[in-house]
Symmetry: C2
Subunit: 187 residues, 2 copies
């Protein structure tokens, strides 16, 4: 399993880091030694909406080789919905086996055409914005469509990460990772 | 209120970002327009324990001018407990009005001498390591000592951020920020 964590200017960093923390523990806690990832962007440097600057491990290039693409949200997602160069890049992930989003990351998947005919969710403030892109907006924290898993706002990224840990490595792995993350919440 | 978010090599990024997300919303959601912050390190670039590279907004220099210093944890905190140059830098925060830590960030405060005679907490796996530095290790998610607030492991940073939002701006601000973070957990 090889994952691409997408980052972009004015993302909400917690959207990205919540899912990144849990999921990468599949490797760091030895549940899946083959699990690997890159942090992917279309620019050499990315800044969030509060001043943090991050350096992706990979700039541009096709996302086709990844098994999973993970998209965060944040105010920076909005201009990208009409950014044809960004969307063309994101569409290189069209045939990745798994797609997962946090918050308004699902709008990016929508604009890329990944949600056509699918059920999805997003931040509660963005349900209306998501509607045109998908078959049904589901008011749940996690919406699992098998190869596509969308999550609610910001902190739901943590629940998404743990959900994916269970999906890929089983309930025992998830429980151990949840404990290590000192996360007493969720199911 | 001016806050310094400390970052260092091999930190757990979620420790930092969980508290940073909530607390900085005091400004971005207009509860405290005067709230400002810097991301502070002793090196020009910092990498976490999973490959993410970050650029601090401030490198070195005294932390004395800040009203609050916030320390994350992670495996990278361990070598710093004996790093006299780092500890000398951290001690420039000795007279900051507030100190807050997530996870093993409290060990850093301990090594800097900030916990002498105080009650504190940390990641459950690190209770023994914390004991020599403080008067009492408290097995709680948040331990509030007025000018010193320590939190449990990793995800407790989110609860810490929300706790500090209430402490500095009241229950209404906290509730609004919690809702915007789509965080249904905690009190």
């Amino acid at each position: 399993m090889r994952a691409a964590f997408i980052i972009f200017d004015n993302l909400t960093t917690l959207d990205f880091v919540g899912v990144y923390d849990g999921l990468t523990r599949l490797k760091t806690m030895d549940f899946d030694p083959e699990f690997s990832w890159e942090i992917c962007a279309v620019s050499e440097e990315v800044h969030d909406d509060k001043g943090l600057r991050m350096l992706p491990t990979r700039v541009g290039g096709s996302l086709e080789e990844f098994d999973m693409v993970v998209a965060p949200g944040g105010f920076g997602s909005r201009p990208l919905l009409k950014d044809e160069a960004f969307l063309a890049w994101l569409r290189t992930a069209a045939h990745c086996k798994f797609k997962a989003s946090v918050c308004t990351g699902s709008l990016l998947f929508g604009a890329a055409g990944f949600l056509t005919g699918r059920r999805a969710t997003t931040h509660p403030n963005a349900y209306d914005a998501l509607r045109p892109y998908c078959a049904e907006v589901v008011r749940q924290r996690i919406v699992d469509e098998g190869d596509l898993v969308t999550a609610g706002g910001v902190t739901s990224g943590i629940d998404l990460g743990l959900f994916l840990c269970e999906k890929f490595a089983g309930a025992e792995a998830k429980a151990a990772i949840k404990k290590q993350m000192d996360y007493p919440y969720g199911d």
